[in-house]
């Protein structure tokens, strides 16, 4: 990777050294620069440009907005921001006028731009598009508040305040603390909201052991799917023998129906870097890698830009905060493959080899990347680290349930009124998420099944909608919290068809190294296909169960081991649907063509 440090001519060395943040004084200076950007003397207009907004035409809106502002000679800056989570109301535009509360507008398509600019010129509110107003925001990192205005003009009072906006009521945005609120490409704005203060605290006031102790006490568990205690993982890697150690961030988001990592990177890349640097210091690594799913050009660009900035300001590089700690981060793009989300396959791909998993007799914490001790966590886990360090264990461990602390990011989609990206405390029930955040199921349909965490999680029937988000509770119900891509299925969904869909996906994604997974998924797909076209036999159900048992017990990696979950869970909860297909050659919802 090319870094600015290597590219900049040496004559600029003094300038760059001047920019380096070494003390708390330097950090505060960076912070106040960011505050000036977030609350400028002219008007600041923020527009969401994460994938969800782009798909609704945010690019054209930005151009139109700039043109219109220029024509009307408005003194304003247009700033791209990430995803605020209200994906169903995109394109979202926010207006910050000096001394006034921030106004959030929904559905500003290109044809609405002229009337919006008119309202901005007159200092008025465009009422029919206004969602809410914000006078101040809570800063999750340090518990302080960020004020936009102390007074509310009379015509602003007709708009609901942030506190009255029900969409945020069930939410607590820890991982998504800056998403949609800052320009992801400016380090100053990240710093204005408490960014890099946790790194300062960790490197100047804490020992690596104390950091690991805090992460252990906080109860943070891996957000990638397994839910392994993060602190324990770090400890094992710290204690492993090896001169070189690595910390990795898994952004290989392979689960279908989940776009949150991409949104997170595009909204707040610095929070990933800060978490990773703290982790590197605690574990004793000097190098970090961020493994990206292939085909994410804009996410890669934003991450690289963030890394370049962190290098210039000295949050990466040598002797960070004069602590003697050196650290570098490299972004590497994979080349596809669902299985590359598995730790050993991911590492093989990082080394430039085909992404096949290996047996884990020896843990990657001891022999991982290039046979060195390696610690792998996913994006969401890393983003949780800075607030835990800065606000402390007591604050964090009060959020969530007994066994599952903190919050969980959920990407909600499927047959639901409002597809959105939300973050709720652990313990929130599935029902609350579906009705209060997702706005319920579209009229004329009923909830049938929920998939909580990608293909390995299987499905849950509508009857279990009162289950809480909790690693252990969901595990007990035969599901998984997984990575949090929650997909809602209505009564027009055929469960045999869904099982066939997932098994086909897993068959395509099986790397082919071990026989049970390679041949098992193929046979399961054939059997399911037979049932769905009306040539299924009574004994097929037993055959599916036997194949499932074989895959679970004998596959090499988790892809194969968890592949049957979708079949087993649909058989457990929707067996009568299989029977109707077999006995009467009828698909109850007419999705399968017999």
């Amino acid at each position: 990777m090319i870094r600015i440090l290597q590219k900049t001519p040496s004559s600029n060395l003094k300038v760059r050294n001047k920019m380096k943040v070494k003390t708390i004084h330097d950090l505060n200076k960076l912070k106040s620069e960011g505050e000036k950007l977030l609350r400028p003397r002219n008007i600041r207009i923020q527009i969401g440009t994460a994938p969800c907004a782009l798909s609704k035409g945010a690019k054209d809106v930005t151009e139109k907005l700039k043109k219109e502002l220029e024509q009307q000679k408005v003194d304003a800056v247009v700033v791209p921001v990430g995803c605020i989570g209200i994906c169903y109301e995109e394109p979202i535009v926010e207006v910050i006028a000096p001394g006034k509360p921030k106004l959030t507008y929904k559905r500003i398509t290109t044809d609405k731009v002229p009337s919006l600019v008119k309202a901005i010129v007159k200092g008025k509110v465009l009422k029919q598009h206004a969602l809410y107003r914000t006078s101040q925001e809570d800063l999750i990192n340090n518990g302080k508040t960020f004020k936009y205005a102390s007074k509310t003009p009379p015509d602003f009072k007709k708009i609901p305040s942030l506190k009255d906006f029900t969409f945020f009521h069930p939410q607590l945005r820890v991982t998504l603390r800056n998403a949609g609120l800052i320009n992801p490409e400016t380090i100053e704005e990240y710093s204005a909201r408490g960014g890099y203060a946790a790194l300062y605290k960790a490197l100047t006031k804490m020992t690596p052991d104390k950091i690991i102790e805090d992460i252990m006490k906080s109860g943070l568990r891996g957000r990638g799917g397994g839910g392994f205690p993060t602190g324990l993982k770090w400890k094992t890697c710290r204690e492993a023998k090896g001169k070189e150690k690595y910390v990795l961030c898994n952004c290989s988001e392979g689960d279908p129906g989940i776009g949150m990592h991409k949104n997170l990177i595009e909204s707040d890349p610095h929070s990933i870097l800060e978490g990773l640097i703290i982790g590197g210091y605690a574990i004793g690594a000097q190098e970090g890698y961020i493994y990206l799913h292939y085909g994410n050009a804009s996410a890669k660009k934003k991450l690289q830009k963030a890394i370049d900035q962190a290098n210039v300001y000295g949050f990466l590089g040598e002797n960070i905060f004069n602590s003697g700690f050196n650290f570098s981060i490299t972004v590497k793009e994979g080349a596809g493959g669902y299985v590359c989300g598995e730790s050993t396959a991911l590492m093989a791909s990082l080394e430039g080899r085909a992404g096949e998993p290996r047996p884990k007799y020896i843990h990657t914490a001891e022999k991982g990347l290039w046979d060195s001790p390696t610690n792998l966590n996913n994006v969401e886990t890393w983003c949780n680290v800075p607030p835990i360090i800065l606000r402390g264990v007591n604050w964090y461990s009060k959020i969530g349930t007994k066994g599952s602390k903190g919050t969980k990011v959920i990407s909600l989609s499927g047959n639901i009124n409002r597809p959105c990206l939300v973050e709720v405390p652990m313990g929130t029930t599935l029902k609350e998420i579906i009705t209060n955040l997702g706005g319920g199921i579209p009229k004329g349909s009923k909830l049938k099944a929920i998939q909580v965490g990608g293909p390995p999680a299987g499905v849950l029937p509508a009857a279990l909608v009162d289950l809480p988000l909790d690693f252990d509770e969901l595990h007990k119900a035969g599901s998984l919290l997984g990575s949090g891509g929650m997909i809602i299925m209505d009564d027009k969904t055929c469960m045999v068809d869904i099982a066939k869909y997932f098994i086909t996906f897993l068959e395509e994604e099986s790397c082919g190294r071990c026989v049970p997974c390679r041949e098992g998924t193929k046979r399961m797909r054939e059997v399911l296909n037979g049932i769905s076209i009306g040539i299924g036999k009574e004994e097929d159900i037993i055959l599916l169960q036997q194949l499932s048992e074989c895959l679970t017990k004998t596959s090499l990696c988790d892809l194969g081991k968890s592949a049957p979950n979708i079949v087993l869970s649909t058989l457990r909860h929707f067996k009568e649907e299989y029977q109707t297909h077999i006995e009467r050659q009828v698909c109850p919802v007419k999705r399968c063509t017999m």
Binding site: I2, Y88, G295, Q451
Partner: protein, 147 residues
């Protein structure tokens, strides 16, 4: 492919450990595919056997192609949410749109699993831009007209 270009790409990734996949990405991006001669040249230069480079290219067959691909890439998402919203039907419709007025060599059509933008399902990505079904069809008509 001019092997000087391969040299430049190798040079660019010199400091990177395990750079094979990054190098292959660059070749694929520049040429639209990975030419076989580049593969054997790469093997000599990096001291990696051809069997290994060939294996990586064919293992990741969604990223790399040994034959030239069309100028425009159309990815029709077949992720779960898109599937629930009838992405299989969208795929058929896009195919029909492409096949109008005879076969199209300028386009390559791919099925992908989730482009991460489920709120707009079913999603179609054309040359990196995320679109819904109708705007995708319009874009195809526009791109065909540009020829």
């Amino acid at each position: 492919m001019d092997m000087k270009k391969v040299d430049e790409i190798i040079e660019k990734h010199q400091a990177e450990k395990g750079a094979l996949i990054s190098i292959l990405h660059d070749i694929q991006e520049q040429e639209g595919y990975v030419p076989e001669e580049a593969l054997s040249y790469l093997g000599d230069k990096l001291q990696i056997p051809l069997s290994e480079t060939f294996r990586v290219v064919t293992y990741f067959d969604r990223s790399f192609s040994l034959e030239p691909r069309g100028k425009h890439t159309i990815k029709v998402c077949q992720g779960t949410t898109c599937y629930l919203k009838h992405a299989d039907q969208a795929l058929i419709e896009i195919k029909e749109e492409l096949d109008k007025n005879g076969e199209e060599k300028d386009f390559s059509l791919e099925k992908v699993r989730c482009v991460g933008c489920c709120n707009a399902a079913p999603v179609i990505e054309i040359d990196g831009e995320i679109l819904d079904k109708d705007s995708a069809k319009n874009t195809i008509i526009k791109l065909k007209g540009e020829k």
